[in-house]
């Protein structure tokens, strides 16, 4: 199993990175405890290099790097990261088979 990132998502991450005043070293994604149902997703630029224990996904020919800590990796394995745009909103979207329940706002999840 692994984590899949769609081309669209890679493209959007690259575009967002280019808009930053300084290029990030990577994008940290993961799961953190907290939020209404216990866990929530993390999407944050990293100005520091990946930590030794991180799993690093190099995407788009090395242009985009995802840093994932090992604990989060447990929850994200098998997931797909996509970018979606609709009438109301646009943003990154996880499709995560490990998730059993989400809260009403959708920002936090249960496993």
């Amino acid at each position: 199993m692994s984590i899949e990132v769609t081309e669209r998502a890679v493209d959007e991450i690259r575009k967002a990175a280019a808009k930053r005043p300084s290029p990030p070293r990577g994008l940290r994604v993961g799961i953190r405890t907290g939020g209404c149902t216990g866990f929530s997703y993390l999407f944050e630029w990293s100005d520091a290099e990946a930590l030794a224990e991180d799993k690093v996904l190099e995407l788009g020919g090395g242009q985009v790097k995802l840093f994932i800590d090992p604990k989060s990796y447990l929850f994200l394995e098998g997931s797909t990261l996509d970018y979606a745009s609709g009438m109301m909103a646009r943003g990154f979207k996880w499709t995560n088979p490990n998730v059993k329940e989400t809260c009403r706002c959708g920002e936090s999840v249960r496993f």
């Binding site: 940290r28 907290g34 990154f92």
Partner: protein, 636 residues
């Protein structure tokens, strides 16, 4: 599959913290009378000397030719050009022109007329050609110390720690910082002088204790009571006399010598004679620290030399009335800190005047113990500042973890023994987090807050940092109280946890130093363990959380059944009991999803019953209020 939310990428938490490169950092004691600079070399702090002396008189002379003279040379010029020679500038730091205390007492100076709303005092020098602020004057002193350090270390400095009196307010501290910046120093931190002295003695390595720092300098006397807890010094109280110091001893002794010489105490206005007598008095005072008698020779006028012998007893009799003024502030500071002298773990001597045997005897008699005096009392503050600077510059001692980022996550214990992280590992300091919690049980009147550090999911596997309570919450149903908990980590790595119950405004808080007693190796191990146990920890957490939830629902259901059995419809009670039994059975197992499913079944089985109970409660609530209103009319 429920709809998933869409996310944006966020910026990492505050990444603005100053990261000083590893290297040369100095500690500076910017004193009222003298200033010093110190650095850690080969693990030992040492004061840097200029030729032979480490003390730089804190005096700045603005010469007519536009040059600036600092130190002993400036002090020598003070008598000739009092208006152009600024001494004791520290007393003016952060003071406004309207600040009578600062501007009225010491008045050899001309003050430049300030415009309306002018925030700072300005000294008018060079016949009014130039106006300088206390910050600028202090910066001149700092420039000299910086140059001294750069010459000794052979290169530019990476940063400095400057000490300030514990009682300095924000304005005075900011002015000190500004002076450092103006002098081209990267001010990594301002450190309280008594804390610096305690650091020089390595007292921070003790587990805890309360210390008095007795600082009798050239012109000021400060007493501070410090409390050490968890590696953090907190100033409990301060006191002192800003017009009492070693110079007063010199003046008292000079007056005594003049009397012996058969001259009036003001030396008949002869400034040069005054200077000579004061110098002789200071020399004699220093001699009498070691000897019991010394010879004094003073030229009354060229060729007419007076000779006499001065004993330590004479000196002590002369200075005693001055020294006695130290005692009341000490007693007050102890009282303010709520301490008896015998409760102190130690007393530290700071300031050159504390070398005098009579001062040590006084301190020993007040505190009932011998003071710590192994480190040169003139240098001890600068040495402590150097220790701190060295740490901040990254040349850390092996036994201390320095924080630029939070090295381990910080959180709270939740029901069931799981850890809720509020601040995550590797967040740059300063940082903070707020989270709201509620009560678990009906009529719960307090919270036990257990602050934890670590990456593991279970409390048992994390490091306990502190426990505190928030009590006095009025009884209310479970889930009604709103407890807002704030975690703040400041630039020094100090964690403050405060808890506030929103409906009552009850508050409680605690401060800890998370890095206290934690080595790099331990941090490393705790992080490694969290990865090694990741899968197991997470499943354990999921299980415990569901078990707690199951307990809560079972308890609530039992209470509801006991209170409102009359509201049950036929067969409902049996269905609920069956669902409860199933939940209890699943709770004993280790499948968190099975527990959750059983919770949902119990919810479904008791839903209508719960609705009826709610309606009844609402009606009773209304009725209750009517009765209350009636009673109050009838009864009183």
């Amino acid at each position: 599959m429920p709809a998933e939310a869409l996310f944006d990428i966020s910026e990492p938490g505050e990444s603005q913290t100053k990261q000083v490169s590893k290297g040369r950092a100095v500690g500076i004691d910017l004193g009222t009378t003298n200033s010093l600079v110190a650095v850690v070399q080969a693990g030992q702090p040492i004061c840097l000397r200029d030729q032979h002396c480490s003390l730089l008189p804190s005096v700045v002379h603005y010469a007519a030719d536009g040059s600036v003279v600092v130190g002993q040379a400036a002090r020598d010029l003070a008598a000739q050009a009092p208006q152009d020679t600024i001494a004791s500038v520290k007393r003016f730091m952060g003071r406004g022109p309207g600040d009578a205390e600062a501007t009225r007492r010491l008045t050899p100076y001309e003050f430049a007329p300030g415009g309306d709303g002018d925030a700072v005092v300005r000294f008018s020098v060079r016949g009014g050609q130039r106006a300088v602020t206390p910050v600028e004057v202090s910066a001149e002193i700092l420039r000299v110390l910086k140059a001294r350090a750069e010459a000794a270390l052979g290169g530019a400095l990476d940063g400095a720690v400057i000490t300030v009196p514990a009682y300095f307010d924000d304005g005075q501290r900011q002015a000190t910082r500004d002076a450092g910046r103006l002098a081209g120093l990267e001010v990594m931190r301002l450190l309280n002088e008594p804390t610096a002295a305690a650091l020089a003695y390595g007292l921070d390595k003790q587990a805890e204790g309360t210390f008095a720092v007795f600082d009798l300098g050239g012109g000021t006397f400060d007493i501070s009571i410090l409390k050490l807890e968890g590696g953090v010094f907190e100033v409990k109280s301060t006191g002192g006399d800003s017009a009492l110091g070693g110079d007063d001893f010199d003046r008292a002794l000079a007056a005594h010598l003049l009397r012996q010489m058969g001259l009036p105490e003001d030396a008949a206005g002869d400034r040069y004679l005054t200077r000579r007598v004061l110098d002789a008095a200071r020399d004699a005072k220093e001699e009498l620290t070691k000897l019991s008698a010394t010879e004094v020779a003073i030229a009354r006028r060229p060729g007419d030399i007076w000779r006499g012998v001065l004993t330590r007893e004479e000196l002590e009799a002369v200075v005693k009335p001055v020294l006695d003024r130290c005692e009341p502030p000490v007693r007050r500071a102890l009282r303010d800190a709520g301490l008896e002298p015998k409760q102190l773990s130690g007393v530290i001597l700071v300031g050159g005047a504390t070398r005098m045997p009579i001062v040590r005897r006084l301190v020993a008699s007040i505190f009932g113990r011998e003071p710590l005096a192994d480190i040169d009392p003139d240098e001890v503050v600068a040495l402590g500042a150097a220790v701190q600077a060295d740490l901040l510059a990254g040349n850390a001692r092996k036994d201390v973890v320095l924080m630029d980022v939070v090295p381990l996550s910080l959180g709270l214990e939740m029901m069931g023994g799981v850890t809720e992280k509020l601040i995550h590992r590797n967040t740059t300091v300063p940082c903070g987090a707020v989270q709201t919690f509620t009560t678990y049980a009906d009529n719960q009147t307090g919270f036990d807050l257990h602050v934890l550090q670590g990456e593991r999911e279970l409390v048992a596997d994390c490091r306990s940092l502190a426990r505190f309570k928030l009590t006095g919450i009025p009884p209310m149903p479970a889930g009604m109280a709103r407890l807002q908990v704030t975690f703040l980590v400041d630039a020094d790595g100090l964690l403050s946890v405060s808890a506030r119950e929103e409906t009552t405004g009850k508050e409680s808080s605690i401060r800890v130093k998370p890095s206290y007693g934690l080595t790099d190796d331990e941090v490393e191990r705790m992080i490694r363990d969290s990865f090694a146990h990741a899968a197991q920890d997470v499943s354990e957490r999921l299980l415990l959380v569901e078990r707690v939830e199951a307990d809560r629902i079972l308890q609530a259901t039992r209470a509801a059944l006991a209170a409102s059995a009359d509201l049950l419809v036929e067969g409902e009670g049996a269905a609920i009991t069956t669902a409860m039994g199933a939940l209890e059975a699943s709770q004993a197992g280790r499948d968190h999803l099975a527990i959750r499913a059983a919770i949902q079944s119990l919810d479904a089985a008791s839903k209508d019953f719960a609705t009826r109970r709610m309606n009844q409660a609402l009606q009773q609530g209304l009725r209750g209020r009517d009765i209350g209103a009636v009673e109050s009319k009838v009864g009183k």
